[in-house]
Amino acid sequence: MPSKPKTANTWYLLIFLVLFSLVPVLKTTNYQMLLAAHVLVWGLFAVSFNMLFGVTGMLSFGQALYYGMGAYGAGLCVKYLGQAWFFPGMALGIVLAAVTAWLLGHLIIRVSGVFFTMLTLAFGQLGWQVMFKWYSFTGGDDGVQNIIPPGLFSNKVIYYYLVLALVGASIWFLGRLSASPMGLILRCVRQNPERVRFLGRRVRRNQQRIYIISSLFTALAGGLMSGVDYSIHTDMFYWTTSGHVILMSILGGIGQFFGPLVGAAVIVTIEDVVGAFTEYWSLIIGTVMLVMVLGLPRGLMGEISQLWTRLPGRQQALTTREEGN
């Protein structure tokens, strides 16, 4: 991921915040706000996932585990302790996710590449199976319903703004992180772990760190989702959820910080539009994916920024700036 001039990312973030904060004002139906909230939550999930994959080069196929933990932290607390426990429950889920990521990290960050991917998948599926089987406590595949955020936040518009604020702050933080020395060293870990070791840095320690951070924000996304949908399901733990977020990231562009967010927006929209007019959605989404993977390997944002840098005038500006250095 080339480190963008920081102003570009700041602008993107601002545009993103303004656009999404206008949704409740401009919407014509409540559903549009719901979709926007889905884009926000999936966007956060995808951006945190991409801190692992696009930035550090760790393709985890088990992030659904943390997404589910965030959601079930909030959901189960509401189910057993009452509505007021929504936010403490979410916090509990996030803490649990971080602790789990720390523990599991020790086990699975011993291997790299496809082995790492398979291990994350294995533990993710184990988590799903446990949640699915532990019927008496988790409600199994029936899930938990009626998870309504307490007080003021039971108002959908207010909750939407809460989601926007938390997602915005998280993305801001992750953006800062990826432009910081920590982000730089993580990108270096992806590109050349051997060299990172020769910088006197510990590769695994850095991977472990970002694995925990990514899982933590993933859990936050899960927790927020439980309040958007008012219900949670064991599907949230299933590997297809992890697959979904991989799809979003690659579609949007894993080399761009905002790529996964754009990918999330596109996928959520496509699913909605295509699902509404045909039952052959899987054929259509499959074909779109096929074409994207073969034709636009950098993802939407990646191709756009590529076009941008290739503009003739722009090229000149770049050269002069470099010479000025």
Partner: protein
Amino acid sequence: MDFSFIVVQLISGLTMATFLFLIASGLTLIFGVGKVFNFAHGSFFMIGAYVGYQFSSVWGQNFWLSLLCGGLFAGLLGMVAEFFFLRRIYGRADEGGFQILLTYSFILILDDLVKLVWGTEYKSLAKPPALSGAISMGGIVVPTYNVAVIAIGLAVVVAAWWLLNNTRGGRIARASALDREMLSVLGVNVPMTMTLVFGIATALAGMTGVLAAPLRSVTPGAGIEVIIDSLIVVVLGGLGNFWGAWLAALLIGEVNSFAIVLVPKWATLFSYLVMALTLIFKPEGLFAPRKVRRV
């Protein structure tokens, strides 16, 4: 638990292991040779089953012919998929992610194509009449068909062993897993080898689909259902390790078979437990291929 019951349960486990192995072996072969992870492997299994159904139940052909045609069709389709699509992403940065996405898109597309052609009703395929009975011996009853399945599984193992060790093609397949560049220097057409291996592996999956059809219902969505189980076997056996996959399939089959008797409430958890436990102690799987990079 008396002795004959233990034997019966062992044989049951063996039947399950055979199907697991037949699907997983192709998956592991593709991975071993080409470092490609074919997420759509189960879809070729499903396609095979549907083509077998078309030949056997719709056109009234002999079961064995249907088996052959199901395998052939799936194999051809696999080669087309590799030749026209997968090949184009080899060597790309972050290839692993793209492999998963591309093959995942195959799953989605094939699922709907099957629905377009055959609809969503459950299809069914009759066993060959000669194999419809059961063999009974000293209180042990085993359906003839299951015995045939186990025999076919063993035949595949033996044939694969022979092919990999005694033919030029087998040696190339084994060698290309070790060093692609070296082979192209030696004048071997590596891309063609990959297409062929993909074809063989998907043909195996397709044949397994036909073979399994008389014991199951042929339904859409089967592709996604079998892939995770096969994956467990492949990972457990050590990615790309053919014999590892065989032993892992046996392990999973038998563990499941006895878990069902001893702890029926928790039986479904065991595949995952075995995998998780193994991987904690041996993260590369039981039988790791030669080059595993530990970070």
